[in-house]
Amino acid sequence: MKFKILICMGTSGISAGAEEVAKAFETELKRKNLMDKCKIVRVGDRGLFRDPLVDIITPELGRVTYEYTKPEDVPQIVEEHLLQGKPVERLRAGKDYEQFFSGQMRIVLSNCGEIDPEDIDDYIAHGGYDALKKVLFSAPEKVIDEIEKSGLRGRGGAGFPTGLKWRFCKEAKGDVKYVVCNADEGDPGAFMDRSILEGDPHSVLEGMIIAGYAIGATKGFIYCRAEYPLAVKRLNIAISQAREKGLLGDNILNGSFSFDITIVQGAGAFVCGEETALLASIEGRRGTPRPRPPFPAQKGLWGKPTLINNVETFANIRHIIVKGAEWFSSIGTEKSKGTKVFALAGKVKNTGLVEVPMGTTIRELIYGPGGGMKKKRVKLKGVQIGGPSGGCLPESLLDIPIDYESINQTGAIMGSGGMIVMDEKTCMVDIAKFFLNFTVAESCGKCLPCRIGLKRMLEVLEEITEGRGKEEHISFLQEMGNTVKATALCGLGNTAPNPVLTTLKYFPDEYEAHIRDKICPSHVCTELVKFEVVEEKCVKCGLCYKACPTGAIEWKKKEYPRINKEKCIKCKACIGACDYGAIQ
């Protein structure tokens, strides 16, 4: 039996130096004449950012994982682990790695970090395309029934029942129909779609082919973000391999059904994640949304009925077909079935992609796989869910279960699944301003509420964070936020006020501190920071001195630091470095 060496090489792994590690293994295995005994498999990212991650599978020791592997560690691993049968303990992934994966239920991500995404045979060996083979022997109607029964809802954010969407599209009149995969993952803070495309591209293709068969379409498009070059490369490889195997193209598996897929690259516009804007962009126009109805299922791409689903939704399909709707609907809550992938980041210990059953609470997610806060003495202040369309929830709401309805009730939305943990150093007014900055920049400008309403809200937030806030600003933000929400044309505008409205609702004291006392309690808003050392809080550790890039901080051991205001450029590196809040 061969030894297997799995090396995680998604965008994250590669940027941490996984390719150099793989080359070091190749050199070392050649040197020790082990090449025909070992197989190196370049897999996608597994979701935990402790790259480069290397797994070694041998018959005697089973599977051993190494984290933060460096090329210079490789000779030792080969010598001790492969030749002497003794794993290198000092490099092994420890408790954090175990904790990260133990609380998860990986369905969509099951292949990510396990198979070679550039090798269709590896996917097939892991049960790939079994679902397609099963489907081609049953009626399209049956496929839609199965998806409907499973209770799967769109993973792109809004949570529309997937089976129902498929049915609308099947029943729509038209000789030509299209299937579109929305891979324009633009939410800052969400990267699950990228990881799926990089780590398991065939699962998305399989989902799309099945959808095409079910609704009677022969052509599919994947609209992928331009910022994801590796995902595009791997999709292209996957498509050509699927064509060679007769799984894509004319007469799939020698049957009567034909279906082909084309990749369309986005050009950097967040609004193109909105389905009607996305269609306009595929047609080669400016990506501006249009009113619905008619819905794309009735009139979509070039006026033809079009089914649009997100990457994660398509990646669920094969599992539902193979294991059955009943299995799928047994996971999750009454109205939200299956699992959801979250991109956990911010001030949490373990950052990465976490897949949990619907109904898990936010607290379970952060303190289970997430491992709690990064620094023990730092307190969790809030959690941002759903990116620019979502909201900030306070610590007191961490026990709500993750499902579409419960999260909507808080004023946030599930969104695509970004989850950013924030501590006392994060200013909530600044976060609201940050998201509005983003949505104002990305607003397409077609409808007035979004174009002007958001801009006005941003101007007011700028005044507040720069120390010119007025009492009436709070009611203005509330009124304008609700108006934009109710009147904007598309999903971008309808949800853009959420970050402002939720921070107003859950963190009103922070707004008041900025407006009444002209202070920023988190010392983030530069204009409200004095850049002075508070001696009562200072422990004289010198971290601020080390962090300062301009030498503006004077410090000697056992003395209080002093900030030279002439040299200070107000970059706030010192505030970031101080764990005691001693610089104000």
Partner: protein, 157 residues
């Protein structure tokens, strides 16, 4: 500077037959020239019988397109949520201060262009800076400072 339009002609021929391909056409023009030159826009408009304004409408709508030449190295500073919380804004401000340019601009010596990006999807390594296609994670102001110096010394400056 005189622009060689023979490549533009070649690309137009490649795409003109297919429908809805103005965006890929422009993407290819940019990949060839590093930006979309005015002269190419005029030629495309003439060859495809559309108004230049339609092309400019697309070019200015999508963030990916540039209408002016870029610096030798492009620095992208991620401004996603995780990077923002971890200090990405401070890094962007610092670089802008150090290089003496605002985001979207190029240094006078043509070495660096500075850009902000919404999210690169590497939130676990926040804050992230990308120079050309090299990712640098868990950045601090000192770390990016050293990076810039390294690039400058490679340029012999």
């Amino acid at each position: 500077m005189k622009i060689d339009l023979s490549n533009t002609r070649k690309i137009i021929r490649q795409y003109s037959e297919k429908k809805g391909l103005l965006i890929p056409l422009l993407q290819e023009i940019q990949a060839t020239y590093g930006y979309v030159p005015k002269e190419s826009v005029e030629l495309i408009a003439k060859e495809l019988s559309i108004f230049p304004v339609e092309i400019y409408g697309i070019l200015t709508f999508y963030a990916q397109f540039y209408l002016t030449p870029r610096g030798k190295h492009t620095i992208k500073v991620c401004q996603g949520t995780a990077c923002h919380v971890m200090g990405g804004k401070e890094i962007l401000d610092y670089l802008s201060n150090k290089l003496g340019i605002s985001e979207g601009e190029t240094t006078k010596d043509g070495v660096f262009s500075l850009e902000r990006v919404a999210c690169l999807g590497c939130c676990g390594m926040a804050p992230v800076v990308v120079i050309d296609n090299n990712f640098y994670g868990r950045c601090t102001i000192q770390k990016v400072d050293a990076l810039i110096e390294k690039y400058y010394s490679e340029e012999g400056k």
